[in-house]
Amino acid sequence: MLVFLSLIETEDERDAIEKIYHEHFDWMLKTAFYFLKNNEDAEDVIQDVFVNLIKNKVNFPIDDEERLRAYLFICIRNTSLALNKKKKKSTVDFSPYTFSTRDDMQQALIEKDFYNEILSYINTIPPIYKDVLMLSLVYDKTTAEISKILNMPFKTTETRLRRAKMLIKKQFKELDI
């Protein structure tokens, strides 16, 4: 079966992919395994992530270690989630990301510092919303680009982004996003 056709246009693109391979491969596989609890599925996800990085040609933050790592993490988590959904398995443990109760939220918001308040709240947001928000705000990606990066329909991306912003704005009215 034909898989796909891709283009690496420049030496910079090739160098970026090589850097990711040499410096991040091991923890990428580990991260995929964490989500899927299955070696074979984890390898499929890593292969898909590499293919996606090459295919989509969306600039990724290659020179900033932390931002690059977070970017790859988002790609891995979403690809894992999509694979799991496809296979209709129930082994993926996304429980840390389920919504907290209102009481939990109130507890979290006891934090005095605004940064800590936001951080505490973000830690409770489901990853499907958090990741699109990350790509939009931290990486300045457009909805179309996020749709490509996460291999997700444009409409779904648009809806998730809108809901993510609504969640944040509902909690922090002073945030203009």
């Binding site: 079966m1 034909l2 898989v3 056709l5 246009e9 090589e18 391979y21 990350m134 705000l137 931290v138």
Partner: protein, 232 residues
């Protein structure tokens, strides 16, 4: 207001980094990549050129380039000496310009050789069109069926990777022009080198080979339009 958004951005990044840290603190001592997986990723996606055992170097453009060199202009001498390389290995084929290409002289698209006018006349719809310094892309839609045809023209810095399983390329001449064809379950591909550029066509399997050859032929016989005038 912006300050608050910056705090949100910082918190988003921090939250994700915390998650990564937690995962990496977990014990996955049982985790081992299956045999050859890491090497497969490297050879397939990272540096296929350096790991390839079986390669076929095809000097297609020697005669053409030789003729150009006799004109003795500086720009002509800088043209690539050899054509492009086709590297084949299990499940993956790479088309790229040869290492002999002068990398100090990066090539950009100077002239567009396109079947666009003819395809529009035949009823194709131009769905998407993009021009980058080193590439020109089109996506056409067949109005009756809604299926897509993707065509690209690439300058010398480009590499095309074709990933497939259990599908062989076939070589065929279309009006003395060597073209590589691939017939996959969900796509038909043609790759060819002419006018000093690499072209590839990737389309739905319902498109007939006669039509694909026609598009290749139209590209070969295209007079070309300078990039500065393209799209005007």
């Amino acid at each position: 207001m912006n300050e608050n958004v910056n705090i949100l951005k910082k918190a988003l990044l921090e939250s994700t980094l915390q998650e990564i840290k937690e995962i990496n603190n977990d014990d996955f001592s049982e985790l081992r990549p299956s045999a050859g997986f890491k090497a497969k990723i490297y050879s397939s996606y990272v540096k296929p050129k350096r790991t390839i055992k079986k390669s076929l170097i095809i000097a297609i453009a020697v005669a053409v380039i030789g003729a150009v060199i006799t004109i003795s202009s500086v720009s002509a001498i800088r043209k690539p000496i050899f054509g492009f390389i086709v590297e084949m290995f299990e499940g993956h084929t790479v088309f790229s310009f040869s290492e002999e290409t002068d990398k100090s002289d990066p090539r950009y698209i100077e002239t567009v050789y396109s079947p666009l006018p003819s395809m529009l006349e035949r009823g194709y719809l131009l769905e998407h069109h993009a021009v980058a310094p080193a590439s020109v892309f089109y996506t056409f839609e067949v109005e009756a069926t809604g299926v897509d045809i993707n065509l690209s023209q690439l300058a010398l810095t480009a590499t095309i990777h074709v990933y497939y399983e259990n599908v062989e390329f076939t070589e065929k001449y279309v009006d003395k022009q060597k073209v590589y064809f691939l017939d996959g379950d969900d796509s038909k591909i043609a790759v060819w080198y002419c006018h000093d550029y690499l072209f590839n066509l990737n389309c739905h399997p319902s498109i007939g080979w006669d039509e694909i050859e026609r598009i290749v032929r139209e590209t070969i016989y295209s007079d070309g339009v300078p990039i500065s005038e393209w799209g005007k």
